[in-house]
């Protein structure tokens, strides 16, 4: 494993004369790589004619990559085709977004506008062959400019696939090529002859059609990303290839499983306040179930101009809490302040001074080296599986045309409270029930001090406890995974009888489910706090606690301890993330022969003083003042 800490520098927005000073400053701070956005609309002078520095030195990509390489730094390359970057049209040329062959279409055949301030633009369609051809032509130009310059460690394909934040269930994509794909897709799945739904329809048939349409759109997005990847490879960009999920918590338009085999690395973006970090936590825990090296392709550093409420404390908290929940690295967005961005590691025009945030990140990276983040193995006692069909079910219940659940979620709004509560003939509003159940699982696990990960149910869960919300219907692949899980399973509140198409489940699966219940390996609990469920969580908690070098004697509500093992268990690291009330405290009693060192304490006060070196072999007691993060290392006595 290799820890990865890099930072975004927009060369095209930065005076050429400052490039070297900025790179030197970042390198000196321990930043190992540079995230390089290559925006199409900046480089395309006219159709098919590109400037990579021949005309405008500000666009001299090869020179910039060379300067990065000269400093021994690696590159995360982002050639798009859309890069967002708070650019006009998310970096796409005007001629592209205006091209009717390329635009996504509404049910009535209208263009679909992406809500990007200050000027909305028509969203391209990921089913448009014209868009794909144009994008590949652009990739060829980028490939030529990049050549062998620099050490490209990762190539990101497109950006935050979310149908340009117009993914309300019936907003798009009804352009002819998308409808042709729909016909093909439904035909392959025995659903021939169906027109796509254009509004929410009542009853089970309505739900089946909506779920199929949303599943199809995920497939279409993933297909597009795969074809772009091929285009990048043809352009000579060797990869590995990645894609980044938007900062939308559980409201991801794509599941990690959709991208399995499409890209090599699935990353996530984290833009969060300290108070609202639960959403970012869920994203990171989800990433952990499928990615060996969870990576945040964008970790907010500074803030986008239309969300100025994010503070430097929020940035410091999010970076540390991201590592606490399992990130192995991140890209700091932004490394240098610039147009349409507030803040960054290096302030605009002040690369020699650095910022408080730069000094903090420098010390945080150094600390990650000291604790050996590469070797740290997260300890997890449970997996929460969230069947993707349930997320789709919630999306189908979003009743605001033109709205974007993923964008609203990214802005911290409670989208799960904005759903219609129809039961679609299932006797229960699954769309909101599963979310409440998952929250209850999370609270129960936190109360039982069981660290956990989140899975979409299609990846094999770890050996510990598996918790899965189940209702009248459950996708077949998830049911098969649940039944083959090697450890105990808490499901419920309902026994599944139907599959994701609301057809009866095969008898062998139903029988196996019944057998598992009878054998006791599967508990179907009506309530999460039922005796059986609580007992399973208590067992998982004891199993985790037994291996730890300390006993948690006092842990207030809303505080979590995330343990990591290293060196075969001879050394441990515990992150503590707390949103507890001021006046509460946490107490950890070391087991015999173990001592602790508190190394980091991030609290909501003026910067400075976070990096501490408090040692002891008695009880570790931390007074909590609110939203904060702490890092404690545990070593056996006499071991350095």
């Amino acid at each position: 494993m290799t820890a990865r800490f890099c930072a975004s520098v927009h060369y095209f927005r930065t005076p050429v004369g400052r490039w070297e000073a900025i790179l030197d400053r970042l390198s000196a701070a321990g930043i190992q790589g540079i995230d390089v956005y290559v925006p199409w609309n900046e480089h395309e002078r006219e159709e098919g004619r590109f400037d990579f520095g021949e005309g405008d030195p500000r666009l001299d990509l090869p020179r910039f990559l060379g300067l990065v390489a000269d400093r021994g730094m690696w590159i995360l390359l982002r050639p798009g085709p859309q890069v967002n970057a708070e650019l006009r049209n998310f970096g796409l040329p005007d001629r592209i977004v205006r091209d009717e062959r390329i635009q996504a279409r509404s049910p009535r055949g209208r263009p679909v506008f992406c809500p990007s301030p200050p000027v909305f633009f028509p969203a391209p369609s990921c089913a448009s062959p014209g868009y794909e051809e144009e994008a590949c032509r652009w990739f060829a130009a980028v490939g030529g400019a990049v050549g062998d310059a620099g050490q490209v460690r990762l190539v990101q394909v497109d950006n935050e696939a979310a149908l340009f934040f117009r993914e309300a269930p019936f907003d798009q994509d009804y352009r002819p090529e998308a409808l042709a794909l729909w016909k093909e897709w439904t035909g392959e799945r025995g659903m021939d002859g169906q027109d796509p739904p254009i509004r929410r329809e009542p009853g089970r048939d309505g739900l089946v059609r909506a779920l199929a349409w949303i599943r199809f759109r995920r497939w279409m997005m993933a297909r597009f990303i795969g074809r772009l990847r091929e285009g990048l490879a043809r352009a000579g960009l060797r990869g590995p290839f990645s894609h980044n999920m938007p900062p939308s918590g559980l409201w991801q338009p794509l599941a990690g499983a959709d991208l399995a085999g499409v890209v090599d690395v699935v990353a996530t973006d984290v833009y969060s306040t300290a108070a609202g970090f639960a959403q970012a936590r869920d994203q990171i825990l989800t990433l952990r179930s499928s990615e060996p090296e969870p990576f945040a392709a964008e970790m907010g550093c500074g803030t986008v101009w239309y969300a100025p409420g994010v503070t430097q404390f929020d940035n410091r908290f999010a970076a540390a809490a991201g590592l606490a929940y399992g990130l192995k690295g991140f890209n700091l967005y932004m490394g240098v302040g610039r147009d349409r961005w507030i803040g960054g590691l290096v302030a605009e025009g002040a690369e020699r001074e650095g910022s408080d945030l730069l000094h903090f990140i420098q010390r945080l990276i150094r600390l990650m080296g000291v604790v050996g983040i590469q070797e740290l193995e997260p300890v997890s006692g449970a997996t929460i599986a969230i069947p993707r069909s349930y997320v789709d079910h919630s999306l189908a219940s979003f009743p605001v045309p033109g709205g974007s659940p993923s964008l609203l979620a990214a802005l911290g709004l409670p989208v799960h409270e904005m759903l219609v509560r129809d039961d679609w003939g299932l006797g229960l509003a699954v769309q909101s029930a599963w979310m409440e159940r998952v929250r209850a699982f999370q609270e129960a696990l936190a109360g039982g001090r069981v660290p956990y990960v989140i899975s979409d149910g299609t990846h094999a869960a770890g050996p510990g406890l598996l918790l899965v919300p189940t209702y009248r219907y459950l996708p077949r692949d998830v049911m098969a995974k649940v039944l083959s899980h090697p450890g105990p399973v808490v499901a419920g509140p309902e026994d599944p009888l139907l599959d994701e198409s609301l057809d009866p489940l095969p008898e062998d699966l139903v029988r196996a489910w019944k057998d598992a219940r009878e054998s006791g390996s599967l508990v179907v609990a009506r309530d999460v706090d039922s005796a059986e469920s609580a007992a399973a969580i208590a067992v998982a908690g004891r199993s985790v606690a037994e291996g730890l070098p300390y006993e948690a004697t006092l842990v207030p509500p809303h505080a979590e301890i995330l343990p990591y093992r290293s060196g075969g268990g001879g050394r441990w690291v515990s992150w503590i993330v707390s949103a507890s009330q001021p006046g509460s405290r946490i107490a950890l009693a070391p087991r015999r022969g173990w001592g602790w060192t508190r190394m980091l304490s991030i609290r909501p006060r003026a910067p400075g003083g976070e990096f501490v070196q408090e040692k002891g072999d008695g009880n570790l007691v931390i007074d909590l003042a609110g939203t904060e993060v702490h890092l404690v290392e545990w070593r056996q006595a006499g071991v350095e």
Binding site: S106, F121, R340, R421
Partner: protein, 333 residues
């Protein structure tokens, strides 16, 4: 209105978050505005969202109409309620997307949205409570353009600074070009030219000079103590700004005519009434000429006429609506 190449730069993050706190009145006494929205299916609420939560429809409100919306708002304990037919929203989205042009005039695009909402309000598929908010639906693009031209003239800048213990608390400099707002900047954009500016009641002129050199000639400069500005935002009272200006807790320099007109509008109206009453009485006594109140009344009249200009321009009296808004915001309606 906003340039598609809008440049946002030179903003100190601390100043930005301070401004955000000020505008959202974080941690102050102003309560969060309780509001609700409803999505309807032929009048029947399929979603009712209030206080950031999905809520059950109270008994007796199986259908939401213009006649019942006020009672529903009272039952929910909210002060603003928007209800819309899902199909009407779908129609609006479709119609807007039909008529929008990429890169087109944003005010024309806003007019398209307003027009579509107005149609919905008129046919009852969109319900806004209290209904005085629908006044904005009278606006069209030329009106908005004229309003913008008056409030923020072309080729000028607007400067807004707040100070706390003589240090900058928040800073914003907007620049409008020959058509659109082209730049949103902060103090970092002028810092080197300004240098030391304390006390700000004197040094604000250095900020104005620097802003003129770096950006454009200021058409409005608003400088104030953070506490004074917060009080105004927190508990707006008639004449408060005038009082703050007199106490030099706020300096407005340059003061554009529209701001002069809005300044202490209640006080001006009161002053006008008193002056006119006095002249009337003085005239009756044959003393009007002797007291020579003409200059006072001319000034007051001219200011009121500026107020009337706005009414003619917008098709409604913005100050009347502002007063109603303030009363509503303060919970007095």
């Amino acid at each position: 209105m906003w340039s598609s190449d809008l440049r946002i730069a030179g903003i100190d993050p601390a100043h930005a978050s301070a401004l955000w706190s000020l505008l959202t009145l974080e941690g102050t006494r102003v309560r969060r505005l309780p509001m609700a929205f409803a999505i309807l299916d032929k009048g029947r609420p399929v979603l009712l969202f209030a206080g950031k939560r999905h809520v059950a429809v109270p008994a007796g409100f199986d259908r939401i109409t213009k006649d019942t919306v006020g009672a529903l708002a009272a039952a929910l304990g909210v002060r603003l309620l928007l209800a819309a037919e899902e199909e009407a929203l779908r129609d609006i989205v479709e119609d807007v997307q039909t008529r929008w042009r990429h890169g087109g005039d944003q005010l024309v695009q806003a007019e398209v949205v307003i027009e579509q909402i107005r149609v919905g309000v008129d046919d009852g598929s969109i319900i806004v409570w209290p209904d005085f908010f629908t006044v904005a639906l009278r606006l069209d693009a030329p009106t908005m353009r004229r309003f913008l031209d008056v409030v923020f003239p072309c080729d000028s800048s607007m400067i807004l600074y707040t100070f706390q213990r003589q240090a900058i608390h928040s800073a914003l400099i907007l620049t409008r070009g020959s058509r659109d707002i082209e730049t949103v900047a902060g103090h970092l954009s002028v810092r080197d030219r300004v240098g030391s500016f304390q006390p700000w009641q004197e040094g604000y002129r250095k900020i104005l000079e620097a802003a003129e050199k770096v950006h454009a000639q200021p058409s409005l400069g608003f400088f104030g103590e953070m506490e004074a500005v917060r009080e105004m935002l927190q508990e707006p009272r008639p004449g408060q700004l005038t009082k703050a200006i007199l106490a030099r807790r706020v300096i407005v320099d340059p003061m554009p005519p529209w701001m002069a007109a809005t300044l202490g509008i209640d006080a001006l109206t009161r002053a006008a009434r008193i002056s006119l009453d006095f002249i009337e009485r003085a005239d009756r006594l044959g003393l009007g000429r002797r007291f020579d109140l003409g200059s006072v009344t001319r000034e007051v009249r001219s200011r009121i006429e500026k107020r009337i200009d706005f009414e003619q321009m917008l098709g409604f009296d913005p100050f009347d609506y502002l007063a109603r808004f303030i009363a509503w915001w303060s919970g007095r309606t």
